[in-house]
C-alpha cells in the first residue's frame, strides 16, 4: 500500500513502568503480586464529577452507562493510599530524577516547577477516580527528526483481575508517558521509533521489564479519515500490523461513506419494537429476550456486512457500541437468515417496517432498558458511518485488529492534585543528571572491548540480565563465559523447570569463579545452578555435582577405562577417542573439564596403541 498516497500519519504514546524502590505517591514497594495472595478486598462506586459547564466528560459518561461496582484486592504490600483512604505522600524523588534522566536523554526541556494533576479516569482502574500525573518535560527529538512532545510522570493504574475486579499491587507504580507528535508515515517507521524509545528507556537500567511493563498507544489517521487512538499495544512486533490494519479500516469506512452518500442512505432515529413479531421464533436468543427492537438503516443493505478488517464488518463496529449497554451483540439483515432466524421472519420484519432489500435492519434483543440503550447506540454509530471515520479510542484485538473502546477524551479533564506540593526542578538538579550509555552503544563496546561476537554483544546488552553480566565482568569473569552462561545456560535450565530467579547474583558469580579456577568443570554449570536454584549452598552444589577429581585421580580413571578396552582401542586407534570420551565423562560426572579429559585420553590411547 502506498502510505504516502493515503496520507498516513502516526504517533506513539509510550508508557513505561519505572523500577523504583517505592511507588510514586506512597512508600509501598513496586511489587507485582499474585492475586491469590490478596489480604482483603473492598468495593466502591465511582461517579463522574460535574464540570463548571454542568457537563460530564463524554468518555466518563460512557463509563457510567451502567452502575458499576468495582472490587479491589489489597495486599500486605499496599497501603491506605492505594485504597484512596489517605492523602498521597510527596512525589517520589527517585522517580522524578529518573524521569528527568529520560527527558535529558531525549534532549527535552524540563518544567521548572512540576505540578501534579488529577486526570479523571472512572473505569475503576484508579481507586480515586483519577490518575495522578505531572508534566515533567517537553520538546524532545527522535532519530527520524520527529518530535517528542511531552514526558509525563504518572501513576500506574490498578490491574484488572476480571470483570470489575482490580488488583491494587500495580496501582501507583511510577510510569513515564512519552508522547511523540504524529511524525511517522509508514507502519515500519512506527515500529522502528517505538523500538528506539524502548531501547533508550531500558538504557537507564531502571525500568521494569517483562510483559505489561511497557505499553504503546498508537495514534493513526489517514487523509479523509480521523484520529484513532489504539490503546495498549504490548508487543512491539504488533505495532506495524496495527497501523496497517487501521489504515485499511479507515479506507474501507471512507469507501462505505461514499457509497452511503451516493445511495442517499439514512438512519431512522427511533427504534421500533418488534418483540411481538418474534413471538414464535425458533431463535434461542430472541426467544429469551424480554424486548426486541429494530433499527431501520435505509439504503445500508450490504454495507453493514461489508468487511472492513479481516473478520470485522461495519456491523461489528455497531455491535461494539451496543455492547456498552450490556447486551451481548446485535443481528443485522445483511447476515440473516441465520442464528435460528428464518427467511420468513426476515421478510416479515421488512414488511412490518416497510423496508426493502436496499435497506438494512439491525435487531437488538435484551431487557427493555438495555435494548433501548443498545438500539440508540446502533443509531449513533450508523449515523457516524455517514460521515466516514469517527474519532475513537480503540483497543487492540489479538491479531492486530481493533475494536471500539470509548470516544476520544475531550479536553483532558484535569485539575490540580492539591494534596501534593509542586516540586521545583532547579538547574543544579538538571545539570548533575548523568546520561547513561545507550544499550546500542553498550553493545558496540561489548563487541569491541570485551571481544563478544556482535550478536551476543547485542543480546547481552538488551538482556534483562545486563547488570549481572556487567558485574560478572567487573569481578573478573571471562566475558564470553559470563554471556554464554547468562544467555544460554540460564535459559536452558529454566526450560528444564529450575526457578532461576532463586539464584542470587553473588552465587552465580561464585560458580563462574570456581569454574574458571578449575574447581568445577564448565560442563557441570547447569547442574550446579539447578541445585542452587533449589536452595543448596554453592560449595555443596559444586561438591555434589562436580566432586573435585584430581589430575592424578582422573589419570587413574582414564588408564583403567582404556586398559579395560585395550582390544577395542587397538582396533580403532584414534577413532576410539570419541566413544571413550563419553565413558570417561559419565564416570567423572562433570567434575573434570572436557578439554583436560580429551587430552589425557588421547595420550592413553596412544600409549595403548603403541604398547
Amino acid at each position: 500500500m502506498d502510505y504516502e498516497k493515503i496520507g498516513l500519519l502516526a504517533g506513539i504514546e509510550i508508557h513505561q513502568q519505572l523500577d523504583t524502590k517505592e511507588k510514586l505517591f506512597c512508600r509501598c514497594p513496586t511489587l507485582l503480586r499474585k492475586t491469590e495472595e490478596h489480604s482483603g478486598e473492598y468495593h466502591r462506586y465511582l461517579r463522574a464529577t460535574e464540570s463548571e459547564m454542568g457537563e460530564i466528560d463524554d468518555a466518563a459518561r460512557e463509563e457510567m452507562k451502567s452502575e458499576r461496582k468495582f472490587t479491589y484486592y489489597t495486599y500486605d504490600s499496599t497501603c491506605l493510599v492505594e485504597n484512596d483512604e489517605e492523602p498521597p505522600a510527596p512525589l517520589n524523588q527517585e522517580a522524578l530524577v529518573l524521569s528527568l534522566t529520560i527527558a535529558k536523554m531525549f534532549g527535552m526541556t524540563p518544567i521548572e516547577q512540576v505540578n501534579t494533576m488529577r486526570k479523571l479516569v472512572i473505569d475503576g482502574s484508579n481507586t480515586s477516580g483519577f490518575q495522578r500525573t505531572a508534566l515533567i518535560a517537553i520538546n524532545g527529538t527522535l532519530p527520524n527528526g520527529g518530535k517528542i512532545e511531552t514526558l509525563c510522570l504518572e501513576e500506574e493504574a490498578a490491574q484488572r483481575v476480571e470483570g470489575e475486579t482490580f488488583s491494587l499491587d500495580r496501582l501507583g507504580i511510577p510510569l513515564v508517558e512519552i508522547t511523540t507528535s504524529p511524525c511517522m508515515h509508514t507502519p515500519e517507521e512506527v515500529r522502528e521509533m517505538a523500538g528506539y524509545l524502548g531501547m533508550v528507556l531500558r538504557s537507564t537500567g531502571k525500568v521494569k521489564r517483562g510483559l505489561g511493563t511497557i505499553r504503546q498507544d498508537v495514534n493513526i489517521s489517514i487523509k479523509g479519515g480521523a484520529r484513532i487512538e489504539v490503546k495498549g499495544v504490548q508487543e512491539l512486533d504488533l505495532v506495524a500490523d496495527v497501523v496497517k490494519r487501521e489504515a485499511e479500516r479507515q479506507q474501507n469506512l471512507i469507501m462505505i461513506r461514499d457509497k452511503l452518500v451516493s445511495r442517499r442512505a439514512s438512519v431512522q432515529p427511533d427504534p421500533v419494537d418488534v418483540t411481538g413479531l418474534f413471538a414464535g421464533t425458533g431463535s434461542a436468543i430472541l426467544k429469551k429476550a424480554k424486548k426486541i427492537l429494530a433499527v431501520r438503516l435505509d439504503g445500508f443493505s450490504g454495507l453493514v456486512g461489508y468487511e472492513i478488517q479481516p473478520g470485522r464488518r461495519l456491523g461489528t463496529e455497531m455491535s461494539d457500541y451496543a455492547k456498552k449497554c450490556g447486551v451481548g451483540g446485535i443481528f443485522h439483515t445483511d447476515e440473516l437468515p441465520a442464528y435460528g432466524i428464518t427467511t420468513e421472519e426476515v421478510n416479515a420484519l421488512h414488511r412490518s417496517l416497510g423496508t426493502t432489500e436496499n435497506d438494512c435492519i439491525v435487531l437488538v434483543a435484551a431487557t427493555p432498558k438495555q435494548a433501548q440503550c443498545a438500539a440508540l447506540q446502533v443509531v449513533k454509530r450508523a449515523r457516524l458511518a455517514l460521515d466516514g471515520v469517527p474519532e475513537e479510542t480503540r483497543k487492540m484485538l489479538p491479531e492486530g485488529n481493533t475494536a471500539y473502546m470509548r470516544p476520544l477524551p475531550g479536553a483532558a479533564r484535569m485539575y490540580p492534585e492539591t494534596d501534593v506540593l509542586p516540586v521545583i526542578v532547579g538547574e543544579s538538579v538538571w545539570d548533575i543528571i548523568a546520561l547513561p550509555e545507550l544499550l546500542t552503544a553498550r553493545a558496540r563496546r561489548f563487541s569491541t572491548e570485551l571481544g563478544l561476537d556482535d550478536g551476543m554483544a547485542r543480546q547481552i546488552a538488551f538482556s534483562e540480565r545486563l547488570p549481572l553480566f556487567e558485574r560478572s565482568v567487573s569481578e573478573g569473569i571471562n566475558p564470553t563465559l559470563a554471556a554464554r552462561t547468562i544467555l544460554g545456560t540460564l535459559k536452558e535450565i529454566q526450560r528444564d523447570g529450575a526457578d532461576v530467579s532463586m539464584i542470587p547474583d553473588d552465587r552465580f558469580i561464585e560458580v563462574l569463579h570456581e569454574v574458571e579456577s578449575g574447581k568445577a568443570a564448565k560442563e557441570a554449570i547447569p547442574e550446579i545452578l539447578k541445585m542452587i536454584a533449589k536452595g543448596t549452598g554453592t560449595q555443596e552444589a559444586i561438591k555434589k555435582c562436580a566432586p573435585s577429581v584430581s589430575r592424578e585421580q582422573l589419570h587413574a580413571i582414564i588408564t583403567k577405562i582404556v586398559d579395560e578396552r585395550a582390544a577395542f582401542v587397538k582396533q580403532k586407534g584414534n577413532a576410539a577417542l570419541a566413544p571413550l570420551m563419553g565413558v570417561v565423562m559419565a564416570e567423572v560426572r562433570g567434575s573434570s573439564d572436557g578439554k583436560v579429559v580429551s587430552e589425557l585420553l588421547r595420550k592413553e590411547i596412544e600409549r595403548v596403541c603403541n604398547s
Binding site: E52, M53, L120, L135, Y415, I424
Partner: protein
C-alpha cells in the same frame, strides 16, 4: 509585563515551543499555567504573554424540580461540602450549596425528599466554637419548629462529633437531626460524599428521633452507620469509616445502594420528645489530658474555670501529686469530672487508692462518657443549672445517651 488574572489566556515560550494555556496563579515564584492539554506547569513569569481575557463563563441554568409529595428536609451547612464542582478551565474546586446544585451533583437525593437549604457558616471544622454550636442549635431548632421531617447538618469531619454532641444536649428533637460530612473531598469521583449524603437523607426521613452522625460504616461503599451523637468519635485521620460508635453498637445502618434502613431497638424513635432548646453553655470549662510527669502547674488555678474534665489514665486516675491541687480547685467550686483516655470502658474510681482519693475530694465519675462529650456536657450542664447538687446529678445521669449503666462486650 501585564498583570495577569486567573483565567487569562496566555502564550508561553518554553523549551523552544509556544504553548497556549490559561494563567492560574503565581506560586512559589512561578507562574502556574494550565496548558490546553490540561497539565499545569510552573514557569518563569516572563515566558508568558497575555493573549486575551475571556468573558466569564455563564453556567447554564438547569434548575431541578423537587417532588412536593416527598417529605421535606432542611439542610444546614456549616462548611462541610456535600457537593462540589470543578472548573476544569482553572482546576478550581468550588463547594456547592444551593438545593439545585446539590440535586444536580447528587441526583439520587431528589427521590428521597425535597430540600430547603441554609448556609449558616463556611468554616473549617477546627474553627468551630461553642458560640457557633449555639447558633447551630438555634438553627436546627428553628427548622424542627418549621415542620421539617428531618434536618441534615453538613459539617467538616474534624470536630463533627463535638458539634453533634453539643446540639444533642441543647436541642430536644422529635425528628432526626443528622450530621454528615465527607472524609475524601467531594471533587473526586471516589468521594464518600454521594453515599453519605444519600444515606443521611434516608436516615433523616427514617423513624429515628434523635441527633446522629451518618458516615461510611466500612471502607467499602456498602453501608453507612448511624451513630448516636454523644457516643461517636473520629477514630481515623482519613479513612471513610473514621467515625465509630464507642461503647455501643451504632443506632442503625443504611445499606447502599438499596438505602434500606435498619434501626436498632435502642435508637430513639421519631416523636419521642417535644421540640425544645436550652442553648446556654458555660464556656469556662476545660478538658485536660493527663500523662505521667505532667506538672500540676498545667492545671487551671482555683476559680479560673467553672468546669474541668480530666481524661485520666486507666479506670480514671491522675498522679497522687495532683490530688491536693484538685482538692483546692474543687473546694473553690470547680466542678471536676473524670473520664478515661482509654476511650473504651468505664471509669471506676472505687478500685484503686488514687481513685478513692479522687472521689473523696468530690471528683465525679464520668462512667463511660467520652472525654470530649464530657466537656460538651459540662458546658451545657453548668450553663443551664446553677445548683451544685443538681449539677452533680445531671453530670452523673445519662441525658442524651452519653453514658450507660452497662458496658457491652465489644471493644
Amino acid at each position: 509585563m501585564e498583570q495577569l488574572e486567573t483565567g487569562d489566556r496566555v502564550e508561553c515560550t518554553y523549551g523552544g515551543s509556544r504553548l497556549n494555556g490559561t494563567y492560574i496563579t503565581d506560586r512559589d515564584g512561578k507562574a502556574v499555567i494550565k496548558l490546553d492539554s490540561g497539565y499545569n506547569i510552573g514557569v518563569g513569569r516572563t515566558t508568558c504573554r497575555f493573549l486575551e481575557r475571556p468573558p466569564p463563563v455563564k453556567r447554564p441554568e438547569l434548575s431541578t424540580v423537587q417532588d412536593e409529595s416527598l417529605p421535606s428536609l432542611s439542610i444546614i451547612s456549616t462548611g462541610g461540602t456535600i457537593a462540589s464542582r470543578i472548573d476544569y478551565r482553572t482546576g478550581a474546586v468550588t463547594s456547592q450549596f444551593d438545593a439545585d446544585d446539590i440535586l444536580r451533583a447528587i441526583p439520587g437525593l431528589s427521590g428521597i425528599a425535597r430540600y430547603q437549604t441554609r448556609q449558616l457558616y463556611t468554616i473549617l471544622s477546627e474553627n468551630m466554637t461553642p458560640a457557633i454550636w449555639q447558633e447551630l442549635a438555634t438553627a436546627v431548632h428553628k427548622e424542627i419548629n418549621n415542620g421539617a421531617t428531618g434536618v441534615i447538618v453538613t459539617h467538616g469531619t474534624d470536630t463533627m462529633s463535638f458539634s453533634s454532641a453539643a446540639v444533642s444536649f441543647m436541642v430536644d428533637t422529635p425528628v432526626p437531626v443528622i450530621f454528615v460530612g465527607s472524609q475524601r473531598s467531594a471533587d473526586r469521583p471516589s468521594s464518600d460524599n454521594t453515599m453519605n449524603a444519600l444515606c443521611s437523607a434516608t436516615a433523616a426521613v427514617s423513624p429515628l428521633g434523635e441527633v446522629a452522625v451518618v458516615m461510611h460504616a466500612t471502607t467499602s461503599d456498602d453501608r453507612c452507620a448511624i451513630h448516636r451523637a454523644t457516643r461517636v468519635r473520629k477514630m481515623h485521620t482519613s479513612r471513610r469509616d473514621a467515625f465509630q460508635s464507642i461503647g455501643i453498637p451504632p443506632l442503625g445502618f443504611v445499606d447502599y445502594p438499596s438505602l434500606n434502613v435498619d434501626l436498632s431497638p435502642e435508637a430513639v424513635r421519631r416523636g419521642s420528645s417535644e421540640p425544645a432548646i436550652r442553648p446556654s453553655l458555660d464556656e469556662s470549662c476545660r478538658l485536660l489530658y493527663f500523662y505521667p510527669g505532667m506538672p500540676p502547674s498545667t492545671l487551671p488555678g482555683p476559680g479560673d474555670v467553672h468546669g474541668l474534665v480530666l481524661a485520666g489514665t486507666g479506670l480514671g486516675h491522675v498522679s497522687t501529686g495532683w490530688i491536693p491541687h484538685l482538692k483546692l480547685l474543687a473546694d473553690e467550686g470547680t466542678v471536676i469530672m473524670m473520664t478515661s483516655q482509654c476511650l473504651n470502658g468505664r471509669v471506676c474510681d472505687r478500685v484503686y487508692d488514687t481513685g478513692r482519693d479522687l472521689l473523696k475530694i468530690g471528683v465525679i465519675e464520668g462512667a463511660d462518657t467520652l472525654p470530649e462529650v464530657a466537656l460538651v456536657k459540662m458546658m451545657w450542664v453548668l450553663g443551664n443549672e446553677k445548683d451544685p447538687e443538681k449539677q452533680r446529678l445531671l453530670l452523673s445521669t445519662s441525658l442524651k445517651g452519653e453514658c450507660m449503666g452497662r458496658s457491652l462486650h465489644g471493644l
